[in-house]
């Protein structure tokens, strides 16, 4: 496997994040409470998404959108979210009108759904959206692969 491949980049980052998360949590012998589990779940999920987005850097729209979303999760940056939403809205209306002009109206309903799923997909026309979706699917499968391996091995031990 290529040492600088997406998979290895993601793995190193993700495992680093996991160790940090596990270091925070006190290793309790009894089963932790549901709230605690939920918190850890959130952190792990964020770590997975963040690691994946960082591994892709800014080469892709979806990774940029994910990183932006992760950075502005806190309520202090409400201004930033508002600015981004208005920017996205203008671009998406432009893209949507451009797309709907064409004869492919049958595809716009699903395209809207896809836009919601793929981060950063709101302001893209169908062509780029499909591009992003393909790369996103590839990265998601990588992420799942490593998460699954991680989970299996940690269960074994």
């Amino acid at each position: 496997m290529n040492p600088s491949s997406l998979k290895s980049r993601f793995t190193t980052r993700f495992l680093r994040a996991l160790t940090k998360i596990n270091a925070h949590k006190p290793i309790s012998s009894s089963s932790p409470g549901p709230g605690e589990i939920f918190q850890r779940y959130r952190r792990i999920k964020v770590a997975a998404d963040k690691s994946m987005a960082y591994s892709v850097r800014s080469r892709r729209t979806w990774s940029r959108a994910t990183l932006w979303r992760l950075r502005t999760r806190s309520p202090r940056s409400r201004l930033a979210t508002h600015a981004r939403r208005s920017w996205v809205k203008t671009r998406s209306t432009r893209a949507a009108s451009h797309g709907k002009e064409k004869k492919e109206d049958g595809g716009t309903v699903e395209a809207e759904e896809l836009r919601e799923l793929v981060p950063g997909g709101e302001a893209m026309d169908l062509c780029n959206l499909l591009d992003e979706t393909a790369h996103y699917i590839k990265c998601l499968t990588t992420q799942l692969d490593i998460l699954d391996r991680q989970e299996c091995t940690s269960r074994e031990l």
């Binding site: 290895s8 495992l15 160790t19 932790p32 589990i37 049958g106 699903e110 699954d148 091995t153 031990l157």
Partner: protein, 299 residues
């Protein structure tokens, strides 16, 4: 019989796509081309040449014929045969062809040849190209034709992937309060002969990974592991690796999640193979024991 090869360059995109369109059976097609003579005359300024038969040409593409000949052959071989009296149009065609930085697209029979619809057709071809690529990515999409169905499949697939990520991260949150994890993951992908000194039991590598080159980037993980003071149990890595390689989504043990969190997931109707795997995953989760009973998750 003469063959015509056109080069099609799209100057607007970042990835210029050269489309060698080779027409072999021109004799039958010559008659069909007559329809566009009148229309092309209107388009002399737009510098776009219309062509039919793109499907056959695409088939030729796929067969591996990529003859990218210069524009000079065009004017020599074909103009005389197909155009009857439009010498002026021929000249404009020739002049068009000799400027290779314009889009040379052929309109099919009965289709408009103005620049808008041509550009739209290029766009549509791009989209269908990407849909084909996505069809390879998403498993179980071979039978589905049509954009709407494909898009539905893609949407379902992306949704299920995202849910799988959430599910697995939840599992990691519950299953793994310990710190001994990472090295086995890396062993699954790379072989590190340099670390055999650290891990004496590393000899039981799966044979299929033995061909991979050593992975120098391993160092940060090594440091992390040593910081945590972890003792690695490599002996079980074999079994784990074999299992992960064979069945990527397999949960023989019970999950610790509340059943209510799966109600949202259950709406996926399995139709493809990956759906079946996922469905078995949900079934196992339902029948498994639930430790954190009060756990409510927002998925």
């Amino acid at each position: 019989m003469h063959a015509r090869s056109w080069t099609c360059q799209t100057g607007r995109k970042s990835h210029p796509r050269v489309r060698p369109w080779v027409k072999e059976k021109m004799s039958s097609a010559v008659g069909r081309e007559s329809f566009k003579k009148r229309k092309v005359e209107k388009l002399q300024n737009s510098k776009v040449v219309a062509e039919d038969d793109s499907k056959r040409i695409k088939a030729n593409e796929e067969e591996g014929e990529s003859k990218i000949t210069g524009p000079n052959t065009n004017k020599s071989s074909n103009k005389k045969k197909e155009t009857s009296g439009d010498t002026s149009k021929e000249n404009s065609k020739v002049s068009d062809v000799q400027k290779p930085d314009y889009i040379h697209v052929r309109a099919r029979r009965g289709q408009a040849t103005d620049s808008h619809s041509l550009a739209e057709r290029v766009r549509r071809e791009k989209i269908s190209e990407r849909m084909k690529y996505l069809q390879d990515l998403v498993p179980g999409c071979n039978k589905i034709t049509g954009k709407a169905g494909m898009l539905d499949e893609i949407i379902n697939y992306v949704q299920s992937l995202q849910r799988q990520v959430e599910f697995l991260s939840m599992k990691l949150a519950t299953v793994n309060p310990r710190l001994d994890f990472n090295i086995d993951n890396l062993y699954a992908k790379e072989v590190f002969p340099s670390c055999t000194t650290n891990f004496p039991t590393v000899g039981n590598m799966p044979p299929e990974l033995a061909n991979h080159p050593p992975y120098v980037h391993f160092n940060p993980i090594q440091q992390v592991v040593s910081d945590c003071g972890v003792e690695m149990g490599i002996n079980s890595s074999d079994m784990a690796l074999r299992r992960t390689i064979s069945a990527p989504v397999s949960i023989p043990d019970a999950s610790f999640l509340d059943t209510s969190c799966f109600t949202g997931m259950q709406q996926i109707q399995p139709s493809a193979t990956w759906d079946v795997e996922l469905q078995s995953l949900y079934n196992v989760a339902f029948t498994g024991s639930i430790e954190a009973s009060g756990l409510k998750m927002e998925m």
